[in-house]
């Protein structure tokens, strides 16, 4: 046997010696990383929020000030309202869409499914930019309608809260559709047929049997949707809404760092957002665990019931899918039009075509691209190593504290990016001056995106039969050799999808990066935002966004090719069928 401690430790050895095993040492290392990169900065943030401004004392002053100020209190409530509205909209839009995709036998379903879930890889801000150009007060749609004499004054399609709701709903629609799709296709057809035999009509059956059975999956998607408005600061700002918790956090901290009072209001709103996210997540977790629907149903491999819809339903389904697809497709199209044109204002379509924007990117702004690739690449490298380590510890060992590691990692899934950014900024400034080194960028990206990868590595590991590894050990391979020659090659396919998704997510990250970048560290998304914000010609920002969408799209296609379909890629193998 090799030198790996897990095999050498005999069950009758107690005390210190049995604790010092390779598994436990690895777990201790993982805990160190988690403590340094997650627990320390986040607790620093929480502690900081109780600091009495300008002193070393602590108290509830900041919170009292926050809740007694109508502006902040209003923002707090408004964020909840926005979350509720976004959830409502995604539900109303997503329910029929998922039903159509899951149950009806229609031509072109794969294409529509792919289009529907495209926003998962399109950054929300890119969508927002595109929509402003198309739906804005003097955007394409209004100009066209006025040209045709249908309206005389522009209609406010998106400026304001309703625009934010609409944009965020479209961005989050994939999460909702994928959750419901998984639910609809995994329901045992017998359960619905039993209701049919008992005399329940279509609609009645849907509401008494089908829908309740979807509840756990629905909630899993719903929580991601509900928490998004607590972390997305940019979309509201693009649509002119700033009195929401994440936007307040960004404005107060990024622009008023020296105004101590406003800075602390920003920190309080970040902590409150995080609190809401964590609480909502824990509540859901408790609920799902208590109400686990365990039937003896084996589930189905058939993909659930499918029906050939009646002509009228068929036409309506196509129209609906086209509508949603058009909204999604609009984003890359408009970005492309803007990127390849100059001074596109007050005309429905661009008048002057040019490659100048791209020329500028490739001559003057290559650093944006190289930074993005560098930071995402480094984050990816660390993320893959650490994610594999975590998956190994959680799935394969009985190392101490592994359930705690899993818990922290899942929690990071719902933690607002704004909070990570602010926490790193405050915690790694004095004391541990990590924030002055560029490594802070990839480290923050790593912390933000690792959970996605870890989830996939975890699922891949669970599907790997331990016998295959045991056979190698029996044949005389050490643990490490077993991992390198048996586990890793077999895990590769499952992980590869995770690798690409990690990279895509890191590549378009902005919530955290916006707080941490310093001159020379700008990434593509940050550069995009700054160019939009400084009011330079929009074409340049659009060109950046377009390029990003293209890069991301190409990566997604590669992943889909290898991962067996866009659906699997977007959702990971763990989400479906289990």
């Amino acid at each position: 046997m090799g030198g790996a401690g897990g095999l050498l430790a005999h069950p009758h050895q107690h005390g210190i010696r049995s604790l010092i095993r390779v598994d436990n040492l690895l777990a201790a290392f993982a805990w160190l990383v988690v403590a340094f990169l997650i627990i320390y900065p986040l607790s620093f943030l929480v502690v900081d929020s109780f600091r009495v401004a300008g002193s070393d004392r602590f108290g509830l002053q900041n919170y009292r000030a926050f809740f007694s100020e109508p502006y902040y209190m209003g923002a707090f409530l408004k964020t909840f309202m926005l979350s509720g509205l976004v959830l409502l909209t995604t539900t109303v839009l997503g329910l029929p869409l998922a039903y159509i995709l899951a149950r009806y036998r229609l031509r072109g379903q794969t294409v529509f499914t792919a289009l529907t879930i495209l926003p998962i890889v399109l950054p929300a801000y890119a969508g927002a930019f595109a929509w402003v150009v198309f739906f804005g007060r003097f955007g394409t749609l209004n100009l066209l309608l006025m040209q045709w004499g249908i309206i005389s004054r522009p209609i406010n399609f998106i400026s304001g809260l309703h625009g934010v709701v609409f944009m965020q709903a479209i961005h989050l629609l994939p999460f909702m559709v994928l959750s419901l799709l998984a639910a609809f296709t995994s329901i045992d057809p017998d359960l619905e047929e039993a209701a049919e035999v008992e005399g329940a009509s279509g609609i009645r059956r849907f509401f008494t049997v089908t829908l309740p059975l979807c509840t756990p999956s629905y909630l899993a998607g719903a929580i991601l949707v509900f928490l998004w408005p607590f972390t997305d600061w940019l979309t509201p700002m693009i649509f002119g809404v700033i009195d929401l918790l994440p936007s307040i956090a960004y404005i107060n901290i990024a622009y008023h760092f020296t105004d101590v009072g406003r800075k602390y209001m920003g920190i309080v709103s970040v902590v409150l957002s995080s609190g809401v996210c964590v609480a909502a997540f824990l509540l859901l977790k408790a609920w799902v665990e208590r109400k686990r629907y365990t039937g003896l149903s084996k589930g189905t491999t058939l993909g659930g019931r499918t029906i050939r819809p009646k002509p009228l339903v068929r036409v309506a389904s196509y129209l609906y899918m086209l509508f949603v697809s058009a909204l999604v497709l609009l984003i890359p199209i408009v970005l492309g039009l803007s990127g390849f044109s100059r001074r596109w204002v007050l005309t429905p379509f661009p008048q002057h075509w040019t490659l100048d924007n791209f020329r500028t990117i490739f001559t003057g702004a290559t650093r944006l691209i190289s930074n993005s690739f560098l930071f995402s690449g480094v984050a990816l490298g660390i993320g893959v190593l650490f994610g594999l380590l975590m998956a190994y510890l959680i799935v394969r060992t009985k190392a101490l504290g592994r359930s705690g590691l899993e818990f922290v990692s899942t929690l990071m899934l719902v933690f607002p990016g704004v909070a990570v950014g602010v926490a790193y900024l405050t915690a790694f400034w004095h004391g541990i001056p990590l924030a002055t080194h560029w490594m802070v960028m990839p480290l923050a990206l790593f912390v933000r995106r690792m959970p996605y990868f870890q989830r996939m590595a975890h699922a891949a590991y669970q599907q790997l039969d331990p016998c295959l590894e045991e056979a190698a050990e029996v044949a005389g391979a050490s643990k490490l050799r077993t991992f390198l020659t048996i586990s890793l090659p077999l895990l590769l396919k499952g992980i590869f999808v995770g690798v690409i998704m990690f990279f895509i997510m890191a590549f378009q990250e902005i919530s955290t990066a916006i707080f941490l970048y310093r001159g020379g560290w700008e990434t593509l998304p940050v550069g995009l935002y700054l160019n939009w914000h400084r009011g330079m010609e929009f074409g340049f920002a659009a060109a950046l966004a377009f390029m990003m969408v293209v890069i991301v799209f190409v990566m997604l296609m590669v992943a889909a090719k290898i991962g067996g379909g866009v659906l699997n890629v977007a959702w990971g193998s763990s989400g479906r069928g289990k």
Partner: protein
């Protein structure tokens, strides 16, 4: 005309590999208060036939009549309007509803008032042996209990016909045996007409008044369990039900006065009794089927002159309560079931006797 009348039922499925005939002109009459089993290997069309009776599947042609009323030809009658109750293979007990809500679901849809509903559900849970468990969720129950919930739900609306789709296949062996008798008991007590789909022959034998055997979408034999076993209609049935020895042969002579025919088989000359002499013709290739328990391993003294063969024991398979001897006669290996204390070891020579009355001649 039967209580359920299946007429020329045809159902095709399109699959990746082409078209499959799941039901190939199935005709079957089921009597009132009869329990009939549809038995066959997986993919033989038994479930499709059941689902057509239920109205969960629409046949491409043919019809199903329940109590004289056509279910397809004069407008599709939806499942709920057919007077049926159904038990599904996975039970299909709704996991998000209590036992009470599950069982009362159909009554509620019928608009039965709450009081009556409660009383009737309680009564039914008593019948299936689940009294007092109304508030439980299916997730808190064992497989057997969930099975009873499914049964109670199916019986709740007093259906004219009870349909059961492999209801016991997910239970462990002990429980399966117990539930067999219970289902039989409840169905006969309620004088229910029942159609039962299974691939388990023991289940079919124990439960059924009649067994309908299907193969590749076709109905191959419908008969009482003992008839199916002793007088199989084809090689498939003989092979599918229990174990048997199949020997290829050819009709050599038809002995008019005795009801016997002489076959030339791999064993030599074999006499067999046939029920219907018109069904065999001289020179015709046939199969001879004889069950292992019908083969007598004999000593040198035996009254009969015909159908006695000498062979070598190639293998002894000892099962405790019985013993199989595999005996090679010329190039044919015959399996004989013996008393566990039967002497004879591998390599020894022995003699067997095939009673002509127990030899079944099957068309090739």
């Amino acid at each position: 005309m039967g209580f359920i009348d299946i007429r020329n039922l045809v159902k095709r499925f399109r699959t990746k590999y082409g078209e499959v005939l799941a039901a190939d002109n199935v005709c079957l009459e089921i009597e009132k208060a009869e329990l009939i089993t549809l038995l066959g290997p997986s993919g033989c069309g038994k479930t499709t036939t059941l689902r057509c009776i239920a109205g969960l599947e629409r046949p491409d042609s043919g019809d199903v009549l329940i109590d004289g009323a056509p279910m397809f030809s004069q407008g599709f009658v939806p499942p709920a309007k057919r007077g049926i109750g159904m038990v599904f293979q996975n039970y299909a007990v709704w996991p998000h509803m209590t036992v009470f809500a599950n069982v009362a679901y159909g009554l509620k849809l019928e608009g039965v008032p709450r009081r009556t509903r409660e009383a009737r559900v309680r009564e039914m849970l008593d019948v299936v042996g689940l009294a007092g468990l109304e508030r439980r969720y299916p997730g808190q129950m064992s497989g057997g209990q969930q099975q009873r919930v499914a049964l109670a739900r199916a019986l709740m609306r007093h259906p004219k016909v009870l349909l059961l789709d492999e209801p016991l296949s997910n239970l462990d062996a002990k429980l399966r045996e117990k539930m067999r008798f219970e289902i039989r008991d409840i169905v006969s007590r309620m004088e229910m007409t029942a159609v039962y789909v299974t691939h388990d022959q023991a289940e079919a034998m124990v439960l059924s008044d009649r067994v309908a055997i299907m193969d590749q979408g076709k109905l191959v034999q419908v008969a009482k369990p003992d008839e199916i076993y002793h007088v199989p209609a084809s090689r498939f049935v003989a092979d599918f039900i229990g174990t048997t020895n199949i020997v290829e042969g050819q009709v050599e002579e038809i002995l008019d006065d005795t009801g016997l025919v002489g076959l030339r088989t791999g064993l030599g000359r074999t006499l067999c009794r046939v029920r219907d002499r018109a069904a065999v013709a001289k020179g015709e290739p046939v199969y001879l089927s004889i069950r292992p328990e019908d083969i007598e391993v004999i000593n040198s003294t035996h009254g009969a002159r015909d159908n006695i063969y000498t062979g070598t024991i190639t293998e002894r398979a000892y099962l405790g309560h019985l013993l199989y001897l595999f005996i090679r006669v010329r190039d044919t290996v015959i399996r004989a079931q013996c008393h566990p204390r039967q002497a004879g070891s591998e390599g020894e020579e022995t003699r067997i006797y095939l009673d002509p009355a127990k030899c079944v001649v099957l068309p090739s």
